[in-house]
């Protein structure tokens, strides 16, 4: 029943927001709830290594090592985002950019969003998963549009239309899986369960599963932000309030990716290695290639971060394509590291928007000279994103690469490295314009408030710590990876 | 270095004494040959010594803003050459100081002299100094490769760059003397020696026209004893180079043991060979005109090609 508790925690924060209404201290409830989620996820993950799998809600929810790990990811990143939201909401309300009512609405929606994501990773069957993922779209649309600008409106429209279509396609795939399952002897909800599907994968009709897999990859791929269905992502990420972008980029994409990981195992069991791998590699390389090219000329920090998300999702897809325990451990660690680093960067970009009114790099030159602490955090965040040690993205990228190479994907790795080099050039050029040099006017250097810096430092510190220390994630990830390797 | 006998030290002393005394005469000889060929009488052969004696008696002067580099360059120039003179197998190949008679080492020792002179010229802070220095270094930079590669061509057959071993090698295998690589290397050596010692067609030791001169520009600010040391150093270098040339390519006469007779033979034969070479060089200088400065690299590139061909042919024939 513990698993029921987890989505309940953010709901408690929702309740607080609904009851208390807007108070400057109200958003802290979300921080607490999300922190608690991370802690419980952590306990569950350590517990799960030793075998038992708790489930609840009539068998519709269930926690294995993988879901527990995803709970940790969601908990940690959403804690950072909620932390950032405290500052965001106080600023918006104090400058009367939004009414207390809207602030309350925001606080409610953001925790509902977290809840839906938790439901998605805890779902025991693919139907619930689908419903939850679709629900994330609904909860986030208004968050994307929260700033009520023309751009925000446009971004929310693109977001909801593209994602709804994509998720619709995923539903079509789910229906096909259900067809295959019922014909293999499964019945009703039971036939949609992960455990049932993976144990009966060999009995599923391959023709149906082939088509289903294609549709699922395309459908959930929309939510993951894989090219060619990625187009909502730069717009939504750049227009949302920073904490929402952090949450979307840091975990929403990964939650959808989690679904793909699970589906891939079933597909491999049913169809063999080749076809799912080709599908993943194709999307991965497309994403990496296009995202890196678009990064090269990007001048807007938030858009650049969005494309970088697409790029990192491409890396994840490539790792998933390889599929061995090594590659999958790398993929999972990368999910966490990317979530933290991206979360930090988006929060920092939010602070830039507050200070300079835009996230355009040319409006915010010489950040390091003007706001050393914030600039330093952005610099470190970029270094993390670019895969420099000690941040965990280094280890995870290397591990994925090793896994891919061990599975004879040298060509794909080579191409991905070319794309990474281009993306590197893009991000460093952008970082150069943003961070270095003297600011246009002789603005004195400013201190950044502790409330702003705290989540940034926490996120970066965590990201570095998990990249250096073996405990605890080594064990957790090995156990989790075992679940999604055939 | 154990067991230094009296004789080897004697060789060193003899080489140093004979060369220091003989070097000004070499310059005098070459000048006389040129004058005669041009139909002039010219000063006597010992004139150089007379000049030196006069200069040594004068007061030393130093440019106002110059430093120790200006003051020390003549000393370094003479000292490096003396080290070469002392330990190279000029008169005898039976030397126990073989650790100091490596051919590559000799090249770098001589280079040290050139470099100190170039630095001294820059130290004066005049346009002439800079000009001379710049031109000298350009020539050195291009002559050095030709020299090193030519040495390699000579060193390859005996697997050693040790000068006594190379000379002994050619003594024991007279056939080697006429091999293509030797002839090619000889050509390269000659060009390099002409360039390094500032003879025609690279530089005219008799000119003082600033647009063309190299060595004169370098030593323009020297006077008195310093000038004497520079002149002595330069003539010593020329002598050493010619002596090395003759020992490398026509080694006969060099002492292989340390008996008195062979030593006398060595002195006489070396003197004869060097005199012959000097006469030839001087005669050649009458025939050619000085090259334009910007054509000098072409000449040196030619030497470089000769030396590379020498190495190649040594390998192909081996």
């Amino acid at each position: 029943m513990v698993s029921m508790l987890i989505p309940g925690l953010p709901l408690l924060a929702v309740l607080v927001a609904l009851v208390v209404g807007w108070r400057p201290a109200m958003p802290w409830a979300g921080v607490a709830a999300d922190g608690a989620v991370a802690v419980i996820g952590f306990a569950l993950a350590l517990h799960d290594i030793h075998g038992s799998v708790p489930s609840g809600a009539g068998g519709n929810l269930r926690v294995d090592s993988l879901s527990a790990f995803m709970v940790i990811v969601i908990g940690l990143v959403s804690m950072l985002a909620s932390w950032g939201s405290v500052r965001y909401l106080r600023y918006e309300v104090s400058t009367e950019r939004c009414t207390p009512g809207q602030a309350q609405q925001y606080a409610v929606l953001i925790q509902l969003f977290v809840t839906t994501m938790l439901l998605a990773v805890l779902a025991a069957n693919i139907g619930i998963l689908w419903v939850a993922v679709e629900a994330t779209t609904i909860t986030t649309t208004f968050l994307v549009g929260h700033r009520r600008t023309r751009g925000a409106l446009e971004a929310s429209w693109k977001y909801i239309v593209l994602c709804s279509v994509g998720i619709g396609i995923a539903f079509l795939g789910t229906v096909l899986v259900y067809l295959a399952a019922t014909h293999a002897g499964g019945h009703s909800l039971h036939a949609l369960e992960w455990t049932w599907l993976s144990t009966h994968a060999h009995a599923l009709n391959p023709a149906v599963m082939r088509l289903a897999m294609g549709l699922l990859v395309l459908g959930y791929g929309t939510k993951v932000g894989l090219v060619p269905m990625h187009s909502w992502l730069p717009d939504a990420h750049s227009q949302s309030p920073a904490p929402v972008s952090a949450l979307m980029s840091g975990v929403l994409l990964s939650v959808a990716f989690y679904a793909l990981l699970r589906f891939k195992v079933i597909a491999v069991l049913c169809l063999g290695e080749t076809y799912p791998r080709e599908l993943f590699v194709a999307l991965a390389l497309l994403s990496l290639g296009l995202a890196s090219l678009l990064l090269l000329t990007q001048r807007d920090l938030k858009r650049a971060l969005a494309y970088s998300s697409t790029e990192h999702m491409g890396l994840l897809a490539l790792g998933a394509a390889a599929g061995g325990p090594l590659a999958i451990s790398g993929v999972l660690l990368h999910i966490l590291g990317h979530g933290l680093a991206k979360g930090v960067l988006f929060l920092a970009s939010g602070e830039m928007v507050i200070a300079d009114g835009s996230s355009d790099v040319d409006d915010a030159r010489g950040l390091l000279a003007r706001r050393p602490a914030l600039g330093g955090a952005v610099g470190l965040g970029l270094a993390a994103l670019l895969g420099f040690p000690p941040f965990s993205l280094f280890v995870s990228e290397l591990t994925m690469m090793r896994g891919e190479m061990a599975n004879h994907m040298a060509w794909a790795v080579g191409l991905s490295l070319v794309a990474l080099a281009i993306a590197f050039a893009g991000l460093t050029t952008l970082g150069r314009r943003l961070l270095f040099g003297s600011p246009p006017g002789q603005a004195p250097s400013q201190r950044t408030p502790l409330l702003v810096m705290a989540p940034l430092v926490a996120g970066l510190g965590l990201c570095a710590a998990i990249g250096v220390f073996t405990w605890p994630f080594d064990e957790i990830l090995r156990a989790a990876a075992k679940l999604v390797t055939s | 270095m154990t067991g230094i006998t009296v004789w080897p030290v004697g060789v060193v002393v003899a080489q140093v004494t004979l060369f220091v005394l003989g070097a000004p005469f070499l310059v005098g000889l070459m000048r006389t040959v040129r004058c005669r060929l041009e139909g002039r009488t010219g000063p006597p052969v010992r004139q150089t010594w007379r000049d030196l004696r006069k200069l040594l008696g004068k007061q030393r002067t130093q440019p106002e803003k110059s430093s120790v580099f200006f003051a020390m360059a003549p000393v370094v120039l003479v000292a490096t050459t003396l080290v070469v003179v002392a330990f190279a197998p000029l008169l005898s190949i039976d030397t126990v100081f073989s650790g100091g008679s490596d051919l590559f080492a000799i090249v770098f020792l001589l280079l040290l002299g050139s470099v100190s002179l170039a630095l001294a010229a820059l130290d004066t802070g005049t346009a002439f100094g800079g000009m001379g220095s710049s031109r000298l270094m350009a020539i050195v930079a291009l002559a050095e490769p030709a020299l090193l590669v030519a040495i390699l061509a000579l060193a390859a057959p005996v697997h050693s760059s040790s000068l006594p071993i190379i000379v002994a090698g050619s003594l024991h295998h007279p056939m080697w003397l006429a091999t293509p690589q030797r002839i090619l290397a000889f050509g390269a050596f000659v060009i390099v020696i002409l360039a390094e010692s500032g003879r025609l067609p690279v530089d005219n030791p008799a000119t003082h026209l600033e647009l063309t001169m190299i060595h004169e520009a370098l030593m323009l600010e020297y006077s008195g004893p310093d000038l004497a040391f520079v002149v002595l150093g330069e003539s010593l270098r020329l002598l050493v180079l010619l002596a090395l040339l003759s020992n490398l390519f026509v080694p006969w006469g060099i002492a292989t043991s340390l008996t008195g007779l062979s030593f006398v033979v060595a002195v006489v034969s070396l003197a004869a060979k060097v005199a012959l070479l000097a006469t030839l060089v001087a005669a050649g200088e009458v025939m050619v005109a000085k090259l334009r400065l910007f054509r000098v690299p072409e000449l040196l590139a030619g030497a470089f090609v000769l030396s590379v061909l020498a190495v190649l042919s040594s390998l192909v024939i081996a």
Partner: protein, 220 residues
């Protein structure tokens, strides 16, 4: 057998209507016309569920049919009705792809649907499964409406066409997904329509437009 045959014919009729309505939505220009095509399609979909329910003696399917009528036949068109009234003369005067070309595209997409579903139809046996291409074609045409139509309302309709197509596929292939999922899915669709409606209203209030062309500011 006769009854069975009649059921098969009815099924063919209702699912054919679903596809036809999708084509109609592409053909009509006026917003009202497009919305009414959607309404008819909702009823046709409910009809399919009902026929299947009767044929297979599955009472849950009848419940589903009721749900479909309520949501897709009544609720959603009602939500649209309010929108259409905001801009009564709304019509696709200048679509991204003009109507004749759109219809040709629809034919091509239908062919694609037939090609795509061949492996399923061949490898899985069952009478309604042969009708599956209708569902896929509806999905593709709905998608095409999204691509080819400029008005916000048309795009919403396109989204629902896609959804109805998927619903049809689900009914024909598996006689519907488990009820819990069906309920969740329907609720989600309803919410999406509500959200979109709010966005359109906001767009109208703040920008005074219904054209999606004006939403082109965010770009590289």
């Amino acid at each position: 057998m006769r009854a069975h045959g009649a059921a098969a014919a009815l099924l063919a009729l209702t699912s054919g209507t679903v596809l036809l309505c999708a084509a109609l939505a592409l053909w009509r220009r006026a917003a009202r016309g497009i919305v009414s095509a959607l309404r008819v399609q909702g009823f046709a979909l409910a009809g399919t569920a009902a026929v299947l329910g009767v044929q297979l003696h599955e009472p849950l399917l009848l419940v589903t049919a009721g749900l479909l009528v309520a949501v897709k036949g009544v609720a959603i068109p009602l939500l649209f009705g309010r929108l259409v009234q905001l801009d009564p003369s709304s019509s696709e005067t200048d679509p991204v792809v003009n109507v004749p070309a759109s219809l040709v595209a629809a034919v091509v997409l239908t062919l694609v649907a037939f090609v795509a579903t061949r492996p399923i139809v061949e490898s899985v046996r069952g009478v309604p499964i042969t009708l599956v291409p209708f569902g896929f074609a509806t999905v593709l045409i709905g998608f095409f409406v999204l691509v080819a139509r400029r008005k916000a309302v048309s795009q919403m309709v396109g989204l629902l066409l896609v959804d109805n197509g998927i619903g049809l596929v689900a009914l024909l292939l598996t006689t519907g997904v488990p009820l819990l999922i069906e309920l969740g899915g329907t609720l989600d669709v309803l919410l999406v329509v509500v959200v979109l409606r709010v966005l359109v209203t906001r767009m109208h209030a703040e920008l005074g437009v219904f054209d999606l062309d004006s939403l082109q500011e965010l770009r590289d």
